[in-house]
Homo-oligomer: 310 residues x 2
């Protein structure tokens, strides 16, 4: 069933580095991951990345598995045209030439770089929760709130590759200043750490969004309120995205979205309350189907598209 070899897909985040061989049907053939090194030295972090990729390739047991394209999804900011990354949570890398470095291990082959949330959206639209969707927003609710658009089956990164930043539009115009410099960003209300911070401010003794989800599932009012507030902020972001971009589907993933209906139930309720125009109301909300493989699978898809366009 396979044709045209595999994609080497890499997913770079503040917590872990993952690499996989993904075939042209979106199947993950093998996958390795390591914790993201805690270092300020670019080459030390680079050695961990290149070692990860090298061991994956060394283990590839058949010619059919050999990659024909290298596709990197990364936390931002990044510069897709230069092939460089400067992830906020990986201080070792500022303007790190990730495509060039990965190329040292793979040898010469076409390559592509895109944002991790955009890659996740591409994966879900390819073979995840919204396969074939014509106009889709993927939202990643995790330590931050990221997003990415897929229009007509193609990642939409915009001129700088930064499109889809649903976490940094304002859900509360009079709200708290966000580290980004804007006020009341969606991320300030809906990310895991933001929910925990709010709950702790109300006297909750816990430390993890996961505990908050467990307590919400048990019906504890404070935890339910934290999810209700996050859901409303996400609904404002999704309504804006739907009014602006005419969406068919939204896929919600990331660690916090693993709470499932604890988040998606209130989110659908708030969307119904907040969406006005018919074309905005029609948007369908899905939970991620690919979980933490979405970025790898979507990066691979972008790689195969790059090959097809060449």
């Amino acid at each position: 069933m396979r044709s045209g070899g595999t994609a080497l897909a890499v997913d770079i985040g503040g917590t872990k580095l993952a690499a996989a061989l993904v075939d042209s049907g979106g199947r993950v053939l093998r996958r390795n991951e390591v914790p993201t090194p805690k270092t300020d030295v670019a080459d030390e972090a680079g050695d961990a990345l290149l070692g990860l990729v090298g061991s994956l390739l060394a283990d590839a047991d058949a010619d059919a598995d050999r990659p024909v394209v290298a596709a990197v999804a990364s936390a931002g900011p990044l510069d897709p045209r230069q092939g460089t990354i400067s992830p906020v949570n990986i201080p070792a890398w500022r303007g790190y030439p990730v495509l060039e470095q990965v190329g040292k291990v793979t040898g010469p082959m076409p390559s592509v770089l895109l944002g991790d949330a955009l890659a996740a959206a591409v994966g879900e639209q390819w073979c995840g929760a919204a396969p074939g969707s014509g106009s889709m927003l993927g939202v990643v609710v995790s330590t931050g709130v990221g997003g990415g658009f897929v229009f007509d089956g193609r990642p939409f990164g915009g001129p700088t590759g930064n499109a889809g930043h649903v976490g940094h539009m304002s859900a509360d115009p009079l709200g708290q200043l966000c580290p980004c410099g804007a006020r009341g960003c969606v991320e300030m209300l809906a990310s895991g750490p933001s929910m925990v911070r709010w709950a702790r401010g109300m006297g909750w003794p816990g430390r993890e969004a996961r505990q908050l989800a467990d307590e919400a599932r048990a019906g504890r009012p404070l935890a339910l309120a934290a999810f209700a507030q996050a859901a409303d902020a996400l609904a404002l972001g999704i309504v804006a995205a739907a009014a602006l971009c005419d969406l068919d589907d939204v896929v919600v993933g990331g660690g916090v979205a693993q709470a499932g209906e604890i988040l998606l139930g209130p989110l659908r309720e708030r969307l119904s309350a907040r969406a006005g125009l018919a074309f905005v109301r029609r948007v369908k909300v899905h939970q991620s189907a690919l979980g933490n493989s979405a970025g790898l699978i979507g990066a691979a898809r972008a790689g195969f598209q790059r090959l097809a366009d060449a």
Copy 2:
């Protein structure tokens, strides 16, 4: 300098119907307009439209001026694929097959239908305030607040043709209900009638946004406050659009924008205050250069693109 004939461009609004012959360089060769008929009868309104188009074509004095494509921009809602329009402010037309009707006057030729705010954006990106912009939002501030995106030189209408509705995302999550059903829409704060309604609620005796602009120009505090509030709502919408779509340029047009720096000055100030991330802050704001010809010129551009794609 002309090549390939002209486009017959039509712009359908609640106040007037306009038609023009536009050449492939974006020049308006001739133009007619009539008030939008006050009738509930589809054919009566249709007669006015077809008469307008017919007289324009009858006057076309040279073969070189003859249209090779018909391009209609219309107030929404509309269905670009079906070629039908149901403008909120033209009750005579519900599902009116405007492309088919115009075709009765022009004879068989390719045709295209798009939203009026989208057409205006296309015009400004073609030969107006942001020529060649790679990623642009056009905002029309008038009796409502509309918008349209042009990405990579192409109109971005989305699957239903409704993309760009910056007026119907929330700028005030706890604000007044909008007729669309959502709460605190940008349009509820920034349209001409909304500004007048707010000022009158504060005791202002006037009735027209134009008077409000005159008074703001004269430094009257209430009028300045009305523009400041509208500017902040527009800034929230533009920041959201920039965070989501990675914009290079925003062009602001429509009747209220004729106030010029009375609106654009506070708008730039609020954008500076509200935009956080570097790629959001880089967006440049321009006043419309094409005025009320933007929709006709942009429709023509979309028509020529349709021909080129065929």
